[in-house]
Subunit: 621 residues, 2 copies
């Protein structure tokens, strides 16, 4: 081998100590990073009894081979833990600069166990780590806390990963904010960090990682710079959310808690409108020429601070159309509150949409809502509820548990309005339209997820069709298909999306698999191939599955809310819905293609094949 | 896609007609060539009742994407049919110039069905094909026939694939000779050609294939030229068979029908000795700087004609040590006879070794042998028997059926001396030493085979270890191991060896998987990856398996001769042998890793995953 490996920082907050581990090069090559690292350590070091909010849970920040190297898309990392939202494998990715900074500080991952008695933060500076008091930061919103830390350490260049008040208060869908605009949003990782009384991880590093073949990396970067406008023009101009009208027409855009009601003013919340009215510039991540991050500034009726960036598509839909809201200013304000309190915008919006439908059906009343008229379309009420959740005040305390738990507490049939999988709220893409995506929601290890998933309507685009061919998918199944050809495409393509996470490379980069293999080869010097890398992704997915099996998940947890089996009342999806029998069949076929048994439990031969025979003992008898 | 595809020549000898098919680019990308093409057409167009020697059998000559392109290792092609030796999938590879010539003539494959009443040969000249009378060629040895064809067509540059007298007489291990020195040796394909009364396929072509990225091909060729001496020095100097002494020491070299008796004069038959005593030059294949083909010339006591090349390792062992013979001149003579008559040297030698052990045990007597003292070590007798088999004279008629059928006819316990798998004689590598290779003998679709197999003792060499890493095999299991780690290594590595066949690229080229993917990409313009290519290899292997299932093979046909479960009487393997229980377990685990059921039948989900759902109907109910 060639001497590529790195260092992992271990932290025990109960003991107040840190230490460093240096795994072998084989470990790095086998697990690579991101989900590969996180699932490895969670599978090894947690068990069926681990309380997601107890000190025995691990919180893992994981970079990968690519993070922080001079190549577009390298600004990514993942954070993971046993999720307080699902009880199973929890993980979320983030972009920005924090990951690259940690790489330059000499670490590939941070694994945090235990919990502190008093609030603390972690200060990592060029290979050294220190646990510092954070009592004075506790309760601060994210912008305030970031400023305080930079001031206290006298360095404006420090990169901060942190929780806001929502994480401190164990909101089950609290997120971890990086650079105060990049959320590791999903799975409630902010609550795990809060349970450990860890306010922040502040990082500074000055040593660029070694690259085996810098000329090759430069060549690929040049190719991207030359092709970025052609291949991802809309992202480059507007970021995500620039085709809301088409999403509404096809039925993909969720309206009123996925009920699919009319939403006439859809263009009011489109990213093109947003840019024109309030966009002040586009922000970007480490080494990236795409620059897809909106920055918005509003003075009235809400004061929206550009320091908090701007809303993504998921946010425009979850706090917008899914709540029946076409008030762009209110959505931007709610987005800012989510970033300041540190809450996942998808789960926040979806949980409010759930509450709105409960209100419409008399399951929640004005007595519950502190007098708010919590109807679909009420923007002021939505903004207030976001804040109530962040503070766990009034009804916010109930909703802070997420829609699944809130519905269980409310009873009275509220469950049917909770649009979640495994406890995690469904993102803003319609599985009645994108059927492979529906399969993906059902089988995703983290509960409903849109990132490591297949968007059926996009498969025919030049860019994705090209990626599919590089995987050997030569004929693209139709959007409606959910038969074996679609399942095969899903298996290969989602595995490829998981590879994006494991390397990690931002999935918005218009590289195909050929480029990605070349990037890893250029960075590490390994003679690696698409075969090896995709097997690493499959290994990671199988480890996440094993974690969920270990945590007691069964095959029937891989399922969708009943709503998706009935058509919309009007619009494009008024005559079509998912067929549960077909979905069940697709799920089983996916299990079998993955080398799992009919109940979704990975088979021994697959663990041998993936070189993780050590994990056999993790399968409950 | 990019416009890469080609033409397939169809021939019906019963009807006396030829036509051309032009499959889609998707077809080419999915099946690529070699075993991919052959297994596709055999699976589609033969069935359980196809008589290997009847007109309904197909004889398929298959090039691949790489054949005939300007890159070392591109001089390969495969020939296939339902095997008269095994009754199942039959296929053999050859090098030389014939494949490249066919490519330049504008074809990627020839599929021949039916049978002619009178002897014919096929004449293919730059896109045109003609069936011509061969009555005057019938009965000729290969050198004579090649000269006659070239003379008749007035072109010394014509490349000829042909059968000799052995193929005409349906010797079950008759081969197809190319350039009279390159055998598509195994599986009895010469008998299939003979049954069709097809003496030869003569080819001339003048149009080099299109290359998408010639500069990249040149770059890779340059790399090889610079590294060939370092990486394959021994092959370059001596060809195969230059370490017979080490093979004897470790127990790998078969002696006396795999009995492992002492063989003191091993160096007498070593390739280094051969080169020194009789080597006149090294021959090479299309575009190849390795030049591993020995050319020998002997005047006495046998006249050995350099036109017939020289013996490979397999031949030196099968007609040499495995028959107890250390008479190098006799071996060279027997090799020449095999090339002239068109017989597989492995099966020829192994069948004679079988006969020698029968003779030793009184199952064959001098009455049977025409008075020959057919003892181990009797070189003169061996040479005579080779000729008798080629002519099907006397005892040669029995031995021409191969060791399995001969043993069945002889009875009296002869079966235990027939060292074959599925009817095909075992090549010259000892499975008691190389245990993964033993697994490979058992599960190979063609019966015992050493080419698409793993040589456990070589895995730690710089070259193979590098190839293994490119597949994600980071830790190499020990030679003795036959547990799950070895089975995983076998699954990945043998699939990679099958890829060599499918592309095809000569397995002696010291390219790793990274190079091979780049070569295919440069030739075709496809954005292909190791994932797609290794899946194409897996697809081919699964199709070969389906053919054998269709032909009635069962799991217990995947087994080795009893001899390998007992140690040698002396030497390195006197205390060790294969453990049948462990082998059984390894075979089952291999099935499961391949996505086959416990009986070795490919599962539906695997056929869906490999994009060959059309083949589901081929599985007998």
């Amino acid at each position: 081998m060639l001497g590529y490996n790195g260092r992992i920082l271990r932290v025990d907050l109960s003991e107040g100590k840190t230490w460093i581990e240096e795994p072998s090069e084989e470990f790095y090559r086998r697990y690579i990073g991101g989900r590969g690292f996180i699932s490895y350590f969670l599978l090894r070091e947690t068990d069926s009894k681990t309380d997601p909010l107890g000190p025995e849970n691990l919180l893992i920040f994981a970079l990968g081979a690519v993070t922080g190297n001079p190549i577009p898309g390298a600004g990514r990392h993942s954070v993971g833990a046993i999720s307080p939202l699902t009880g199973g494998y929890g993980e979320a990715e983030a972009g920005g600069y924090w990951g690259a900074e940690l790489k330059r500080a000499g670490f590939d991952a941070i694994i945090i166990k235990g919990s502190s008695e008093k609030p603390v933060y972690l200060w990592i500076n060029d290979g050294r780590a220190e646990i510092r008091d954070a009592s004075h930061l506790w309760g601060m919103k994210t912008k305030e806390a970031q400023e305080a830390i930079r001031k206290e350490l006298s360095d404006e260049g420090i990169r901060v990963a942190q929780i806001g008040p929502a994480g401190e208060k164990l909101v089950r869908f609290a997120c971890i904010m990086h650079d105060i605009t990049r959320a590791a949003g999903r799975a409630g990782l902010g609550a795990v960090m809060g349970s450990k009384k860890l306010k922040a991880v502040a990082v500074r590093g000055s040593k660029p990682p070694k690259v085996a073949n810098p000329a090759k990396l430069r060549e690929i970067s040049r190719w991207l710079a030359q092709n970025v406008e052609r291949l991802v023009r809309s992202l480059h101009l507007y970021g995500t959310g620039a085709a809301m009208d088409i999403g509404l027409q096809t039925g993909n855009l969720p309206v009123n808690n996925f009920r699919g009601d009319p939403f006439p003013n859809v263009m009011d919340i489109d990213a093109r409108t947003l840019k024109k009215k309030y966009g002040i510039r586009m922000d970007t991540c480490f080494a990236c020429p795409v620059a897809c991050k909106k920055v918005v500034k509003i003075e009235e009726p809400w004061k929206v601070d550009p320091a908090y960036g701007g809303p993504e598509y998921e946010t425009l839909a979850s706090l917008g159309s899914d709540c029946g809201i076409d008030d762009l200013e209110a959505i931007c304000m709610a987005n800012q509150l989510c970033n300041a309190y540190g809450m996942d915008t998808i789960s926040t919006g979806a949980t409010i949409a759930f509450a709105m439908e409960c209100f419409e059906n008399g399951i929640l009343t004005k007595e519950d809502t502190n007098g708010l008229e919590l109807s679909f379309g009420n923007a002021d009420a939505m903004v207030k509820v976001v804040e109530m959740i962040g503070e766990r005040k009034g009804m916010g305390d109930l909703l802070a548990e997420g829609s699944k738990r809130a519905a269980e507490k409310l009873g009275k049939g509220a469950e049917k309005f909770a649009i979640h999988v495994k406890g995690q709220e469904v993102p803003m893409h319609e599985p009645r339209l994108k059927r492979g995506l529906g399969l993906g929601y059902a089988v995703s290890p983290t509960g409903a997820d849109h990132c490591h998933n297949m968007h059926d309507t996009a498969l025919n685009s030049e860019r994705i069709a090209n990626e599919l061919r590089s995987l050997g998918i030569l004929e693209i199944p139709s959007v409606e298909d959910l038969g074996p050809a679609k399942v095969r495409t899903f298996y290969y393509y989602v595995n490829y999306r998981v590879l994006n996470n494991v390397l990690p490379i931002c999935l918005f980069m218009p590289f195909d698999l050929v480029h990605k293999v070349e990037i890893v080869r250029a960075i590490t010097g390994w003679n690696t191939t698409a075969w090896e890398l995709l097997k690493a992704a499959e290994r990671a997915t199988t480890m996440t599955r094993l974690i969920n099996v270990m945590r007691g998940f069964k095959s029937n947890d891989d399922w969708l809310p009943e709503r998706f089996f009935k058509p919309h009342r009007s619009g494009a999806l008024s005559k079509t819905a998912l067929d549960p029998a077909q979905l069940k069949k697709a799920i089983k076929l996916y299990y079998l293609m993955m080398g799992w048994d009919e109940n979704g439990v990975p088979k021994e031969e697959k663990l041998h094949e993936l070189d993780i025979a050590w994990a056999i003992e993790k399968i409950p008898i």
